[in-house]
Symmetry: C2
Subunit: 227 residues, 2 copies
């Protein structure tokens, strides 16, 4: 499959970047990885290719940039399609709409609730934990008895979007003081199945490295602003 | 074109609902309109068809619900396609990604900044006005010399998403004390061109009716909470 020149701008802990890399790996597309330090100086390449949001991830395909992670996933699925690799989104318009609905819901609910589990305290933190666990329970119900959200044989956009949050679960569970294995054991089974896929396991950041980074951020914050 | 049974659940001032109705009108799809009072009691139909978000708009096609306005627009574009009506999204993956990018940006930036022009006061209100006008300037640049965002002959998803905010412009300008005609005259020309299309003009709510409703909400809020 002709693929042209593919570059990905990413910041290693990003769930938004991880899903782009997993999609390229699932499709067998070779790419050049460029790390951006989003807390430091943004590179000229990032500012030129995403002048509006100035955010990673950016996929640059033959010099043309595509921004916003789920838009990139759809682009990847539309450009690199063949008979060997199952699509990330189904062809049928209704099932495609359902797939987009769940991917969108994950970013609307999991990202926000997850972040609040470590940036908030007391009552607000408890609320965040409840929201996060409730969303994962909803997703567990949607998964049902299927191997993947995409069905039994194939990962879909929903799988890649949700598993992109997995490296953050350890941080949210540790700081929040809860265990997803207790609340959503079936979904944790789905995580383990996803991790047997090399395209997924090799593309995700190390959960312990994320925890270390978050712990440092919390310490710096407490040093300057108190508890 | 076979279309099946189509029902739309909407709340009349909604920009998210208006774009769905415009898309159906542009495609010539007949539908049944059902008004939902989102501030009152939600109907069983809404709760059954959008149990997760419990929000309008919902498109129900042959009994199957599709939720989230931009997901509905893509669904409409995929289901009702023929040679007579230009598509709302281009076929080429790169141009399609660009179309999705701008539609997404409008909802991320215009909705939030617009709402802040009337829910905030003082410095925060000034900031909201600046953000709103800056976003519209950016969109004016993106429009360039084209008749529509979709090109010279056809409205695209970007046109429908942006024009769905137009009925709110009068409220935001009046309360915020600014004129878009001064800041983005070319974009206001694009508004007038859009309004020559019956599918658009007949589907949008009356800007004065929205202003009345918002004025009432502000008065009630001031009565209970003060200025």
């Amino acid at each position: 499959m002709s693929q042209g020149q593919v570059v990905v701008l990413n910041f290693w802990p990003s769930m938004f970047g991880a899903r782009v890399i997993m999609a390229l790996e699932e499709k067998g597309v070779k790419f050049e990885y460029k790390e951006e330090d989003v807390f430091g100086q943004k590179t000229d390449l990032l500012l030129q290719t995403n002048p509006v949001h100035k955010k990673i991830p950016v996929l640059i395909h033959n010099g043309k940039p595509v921004c916003e992670s789920n838009i990139i996933l759809e682009y990847i699925d539309e450009v690199w399609k063949d008979d060997k690799t199952p699509p990330l989104l189904p062809c049928d318009p209704y099932h495609k709409a359902q797939c987009r609905f769940w991917a969108d819901l994950i970013d609307k609910k999991v990202f926000d609730a997850g972040r609040r589990t470590w940036t908030k305290k007391g009552k607000e933190q408890e609320e965040a934990k409840r929201d996060f666990i409730e969303t994962l329970k909803l997703l567990e119900t949607e998964l049902g008895e299927k191997t993947y959200f995409g069905g039994d044989g194939a990962v879909s956009m929903v799988d890649l979007v949700l598993i992109s949050y997995y490296p953050w679960f350890h941080t949210w569970e540790t700081i929040g003081g809860f265990s997803l294995e207790d609340h959503t054991p079936k979904l944790m089974g789905w995580v383990r199945t996803c991790l047997t896929r090399p395209a997924i396991s090799k593309s995700l950041p190390d959960p312990l490295k994320i925890f270390d980074r978050v712990s440092q951020i919390i310490k710096v914050h407490e040093f300057f602003y108190g508890n």
